[in-house]
């Protein structure tokens, strides 16, 4: 094995270990944190830095060891960057909705209740639908 091979192997391993650590931390957070809004932070770490590290490692591995440009990983990160925040956002919205309708009593964690929206408007989840919005045009 050549010197550069060893170097690249070290870099790749480091990236994978870094990614795996973040994934572990994210998962640990999921278990450990008491309230939903706080738990939400865990997976975001796992999907961004955690998966990102592993994906970059994978790209480098194919670049150095197999000698091919691997762009799949970029595509995967692109999809993740689009979908992961949306999922987190939707979960948060559902949580707010639950709080509003008192469908569920959440434990108040160290961070307290979610902050109130500014005076001008309310959380979108709490708003009445605007009559000319997309929402009003469908279903009802």
């Amino acid at each position: 094995m050549t010197g550069s091979g060893i170097l690249s192997d070290i870099v790749i391993s480091a990236l994978i270990v870094l990614g795996a650590s973040f994934a572990l931390i994210g998962s640990w957070g999921m278990v450990r944190l008491p309230t939903l809004m706080e738990r939400l932070h865990g997976p975001t770490k796992a999907t961004t830095l955690g998966l990102g590290g592993i994906l970059v490692g994978s790209m480098l591995y194919f670049q150095f060891n197999a000698g091919v440009w691997a762009l799949h990983e970029l595509l995967i990160s692109l999809f993740l960057f689009i979908t992961a925040p949306i999922s987190a956002n939707m979960i948060a919205k559902v949580h707010l909705h639950h709080l509003r309708t008192h469908a569920k009593q959440d434990i108040v964690g160290p961070a307290g209740q979610p902050p109130k929206a500014s005076q001008a408007s309310d959380w979108a989840t709490y708003e009445a639908p605007h009559p000319d919005s997309i929402a009003a045009t469908s279903e009802s």
């Binding site: 999809f79 949306i86 469908a103 009802s140």
Partner: protein
């Protein structure tokens, strides 16, 4: 024209005309009748073109195998008998089309009428030209079906619908009996080829099965030809438009039974059994029909019963098993076709011009409708058998033949009864003419507006009547060679020498004929008194009897269905699963062998053990949480994920991709469905039943598990997969064996599966669309959301993200689709991936928004998918390869490089469309239910608000 082509053209022409008329049904009456007339005329020209050859003794035949396994060949043959009937069908068909053009108002559904008429013509031609008895049966049933359509043409009339149903039940039922008879006949003869059967009369009559076969075939013939006791459908079939009655119920369809008797005459006739049954049935029918006809008041009713009587005469003549009687039958078929069609058309004209068909309200029409009167009177005279018309000759021949036949050992029985029937037929024929056209008008109103119709309407009956007259005046010149040749074909060898003439000198038959005319005239003179006597008698109402029988059968069948096929889904599922489990258990226990095979196991990795543990935990969780539907769904998705991982672990990327995408789609759809269901299902089953169901479930699970264990611990025995692996690239042009198997090796299976999937999609539509009606619909409409909904129905981020994702996912879908032939992917997975992207649009932006942007409907997708796949398969036939053979090639495309194109890709497009369509169908139906409920709810709220305002 070459003979084969000519015969095929002859049979296909009417069907082609029917198709063209149906396509052009939005056009006017002239196009419909024009096409029908052109088809008939062309066929008639073809028949006339070969008439000389066929009458001269040539039998033209052509045959191609259709279903050789059961002996069904598409073989056509034309001999003198077929020629005569084909001529009648086409000739009278042409006249009826002309008549019908003027008879039907232009705002009626003339397209449907003439298309059905041509359909019938084709079916009838098929019967008389079939050279294979199984093929004959096919056409036989077709005549029943097309006559159903024609009798029920005025479908808004109850009597038309009931008449059509009765005709179908009787003639269709008779057709089923005939099938049994024909199969027996073919089995005895050792061939279903008509010519072969006709040569094997001795073998057939010597067979012990002959009596059974004979009775079955006779029932088929008697039902079709309205013979006693199956005659009752014919008068009710008179609810059809008059052109139909003139065509089907006088000249052609009812003659199908007579035709078949004549066709099989050499094989069936001659035995004691045959003579007794056929002669007596014919005799009874003849007498009974003539008697009833004398007292009917509806013109078409009179004609219907007279037709029954005349058909009885024909059947009786064929039943004599005498050669000369067969000759008389042939002559009378011609005569009857001419005068009866003319009479029906005349009745139609009278109905058309006066507005009534009741003979008691009409009379003295000769003054106002002279042409119709001349035509109808001459036709009635022919029916009465008065000289010098054609009817006289055939009737005299018939009476002459009766003298040679003794029935039940009584030599005078047949001649006396036949003379009585002839007397009655003179009476009803004369009554028809006299009461209709002569004397004083009985009612002023119908008489006042009556006048002769245009030439277009009376031309057809007038032409037929001229024929009827000529058949009497110059019988030998007009019909001599034809009758002689046809009779020869019926008998099976040369016909006896023929001397058709009006005057044969003084003989017994002439005496009988004279007596019939004299007494018939007397009966007419005394008709009023007879009528009172007839009406004082009790009569059996065949229709009520038929309805009662049918109703009773209906009730019994319903009882049986409820008893065996209980409408409880749970019970049916339990029964079917119990049977399966029992069968498998029985097979496993009695089959012998060991559960565990010889194959060595593999060491389990730690990952596999963890996944396995998760799988079991999720399964147990599903059972425990079974009453919380949402939780169950989550656990089920865990199971699906682990199965996907298992596929990855065992190097089955195609299966893994399919599994994960199916999993996502089903979970999404189930979530939507869950929205409509109670969040916790009500407890419906009692405790013992739950134990019972659990027992069955455990049994089923053990069975499946055992089977899997047995399979996995054995080495595969000469697996077909090795063939697939070896031939995938060389034969199918793809390195992805799974995909090549789907679209090439087992493409026929895949075709079947996508058709099933398409049907499932349509079934979702059928089931959920009809739930909007009835009790379930009312429940669904009153459904109210049982969870508080967020006012923010379409979160902006979610909406925008799905819209950005759509083109990306589409690209992924196309990529997966295209690479499918060589790498994991293919039409099925691509369709699911694309479907997920669309499902997300519906979820995020709402059904209305997304649906408004959709151009292609689900039904179209499903249908076009199946059609594309079929067309791809059929395409290979064009190149001389077998169905669904795939072909591939490599092409250089600029910039892209070498590209493989395979016909399997086209097939895969079909798969794609069906899968995508089925998923979208499910989605559309689910959302429509909640939309309907929302709309109903909104309407309710609005109504309440309006109610409270004032």
């Amino acid at each position: 024209m070459a003979v084969p082509l000519m015969l095929y053209t002859l049979v296909i022409l009417p069907f082609l005309a029917a198709l063209l008329i149906a396509i052009g049904s939005s056009h006017g009456r002239a196009l419909h009748s024009g096409l029908a007339a052109a088809g008939s005329a062309l066929g008639l020209a073809l028949i006339l073109g070969i008439a000389g050859r066929v009458i001269g003794g040539d039998v033209l035949a052509v045959s191609v195998p259709w279903v050789p396994v059961i002996g069904l060949d598409f073989s056509l043959m034309i001999d003198p008998l077929g020629l005569m009937f084909a001529g009648l069908i086409l000739g009278i068909g042409l006249l009826v089309v002309i008549f019908g053009h003027f008879y039907l108002a232009s705002d009626e559904a003339t397209g449907r009428f003439f298309a059905s008429l041509m359909l019938f013509q084709g079916a009838m031609l098929g019967i008389v030209l079939s050279g294979n008895v199984l093929l004959l049966l096919v056409f036989w049933e077709l005549t029943s079906l097309s006559s159903f359509l024609l009798i029920g043409f005025w479908r808004d009339k109850a009597e038309a619908r009931q008449g059509a149903r009765m005709a179908l039940a009787v003639t269709g039922g008779g057709g089923l009996v005939l099938i049994a008879g024909m199969v027996l006949l073919g089995t005895i003869a050792g061939s279903f080829d008509l010519m072969t059967i006709l040569e094997r009369g001795d073998i057939i009559q010597a067979s012990p099965l002959y009596p059974v076969m004979l009775v079955l075939i006779l029932i088929g013939c008697f039902t079709k030809s309205a013979q006693f006791p199956f005659h009752f459908w014919l008068p009710h079939a008179m609810a059809a438009p008059t052109p139909v009655s003139a065509y089907l119920h006088s000249a052609t369809m009812v003659k199908a039974g007579v035709f078949l008797l004549a066709r099989l005459w050499p094989v069936l006739s001659g035995t004691e059994l045959y003579t007794v049954i056929v002669t007596s049935v014919g005799l009874i029918t003849m007498l009974m029909g003539a008697w009833v006809a004398l007292f009917k008041h509806d013109l078409k009713g009179i004609l219907a019963y007279s037709t029954i009587s005349q058909l009885g005469l024909l059947v009786m003549l064929l039943g004599f098993s005498l050669e000369m009687a067969a000759v008389a039958a042939v002559l009378h078929i011609l005569n009857h076709a001419a005068f009866k069609a003319a009479l029906f058309m005349s009745a139609g004209i009278v109905d058309h011009e006066t507005g009534t068909r009741d003979i008691r309200r009409l009379g003295g029409l000769a003054k106002v409708m002279p042409i119709t009167a001349i035509v109808a009177t001459l036709a009635a005279a022919a029916m009465a058998g008065l000289p010098p018309l054609g009817g006289f000759i055939s009737k005299e021949m018939m009476l002459d033949e009766t003298l040679h036949v003794g029935l039940f050992g009584i030599s005078w029985l047949v001649p006396v009864v036949a003379t009585i029937a002839a007397t009655l037929s003179v009476a009803y024929s004369l009554r028809l003419a006299v009461h209709l056209f002569f004397g004083k008008p009985r009612e002023a109103e119908p008489h006042a507006r009556a006048h002769d119709p245009g030439a277009g309407m009376w031309a057809s009956p007038a032409f037929l009547v001229i024929l009827a007259v000529l058949l009497g005046l110059v019988p030998m010149a007009l019909a001599g060679p034809l009758v002689s040749s046809v009779a020869g074909a019926v008998i099976g060898n040369a016909a006896p020498p023929l001397g058709l003439a009006l005057w044969h000198g003084v003989n017994v038959a002439l005496g009988m004929s004279l007596a019939a005319v004299a007494i018939g005239a007397l009966l007419l003179w005394r008709h009023a008194g007879l009528l009172r006597g007839y009406e004082a008698m009790r009569h059996l109402d065949a229709k009520a009897l038929f309805d009662r029988t049918l109703g009773a059968a209906d009730r019994e069948v319903r009882k049986l269905i409820v008893a065996t096929h209980s409408p409880s889904l749970q019970r049916m599922l339990f029964a079917s699963f119990a049977v399966i489990v029992a069968l498998v258990a029985e097979g496993a226990l009695t089959g012998g062998g060991t559960l565990t095979g010889a194959r060595a196991g593999q060491p389990a990795s730690a990952v596999a053990i963890i996944a396995w543990g998760l799988l079991i935990a999720a399964t147990i969780a599903v059972v425990r949480a079974q009453r919380q539907r949402f939780l169950v769904l989550i656990y089920i998705s865990v199971i699906g994920l682990i199965i996907t991982l298992a596929f990855v672990h065992f190097s089955a990327p195609d299966l893994a991709l399919t599994q994960i995408s199916v999993e996502v789609v089903t979970i999404l759809l189930l979530l939507l469905a869950l929205n409509l269901l109670p969040k916790t299902p009500p407890l419906l089953s009692s405790q013992p039943r739950r134990y019972r169901d659990a027992l069955l479930a455990i049994g089923g699970g053990l069975g499946i598990g055992g089977a899997a264990w047995a399979m996995l611990t054995r080495n595969p025995n000469d697996p077909i997969s090795s063939f697939h692996l070896a031939n995938s690239y060389s034969g199918g042009g793809g390195t992805n064996v799974v995909n090549v198997t789907l679209v090439d090796f087992r493409a026929f299976d895949t075709l079947g599966e996508i058709i099933v999937l398409g049907i499932a999609g349509l079934a979702i539509f059928a089931l959920l669309d009809t739930t909007s009606r009835g009790a379930a619909g009312a429940r669904l409409r009153s459904w109210q959301e049982d969870m508080p909904h967020s006012p923010e129905r379409h979160p902006l981020m979610f909406v925008m993200a799905t819209r950005i994702l759509l083109p990306l996912v589409l690209a992924v879908g196309i990529y997966i689709f295209l690479r499918g032939h060589n790498q994991p992917g293919g039409g099925f997975i691509a369709a699911l991936v694309v479907a997920i992207a669309f499902l997300l649009q519906y979820l995020a932006s709402g059904f209305d928004w997304t649906d408004a942007r959709r151009r292609v409907g689900e039904h179209l997708l499903i249908a076009s998918g199946v059609l594309v796949a079929m067309a791809t398969g059929l395409g290979s036939l064009v190149f001389g390869a077998n169905f669904l053979t795939s072909s591939f090639g490599y092409f250089q495309v600029p910039l892209v490089g070498e590209v493989e194109l395979a016909t399997a890709l086209l097939f895969d497009i079909g798969v794609f469309a069906v899968v995508f369509g089925a998923v979208m169908q499910a989605l559309a139906q689910l959302s429509q239910i909640s939309q309907r409920a929302a709309r109903a709810h909104a309407a309710q709220v609005e109504a309440q608000q309006q109610g409270s305002e004032p």
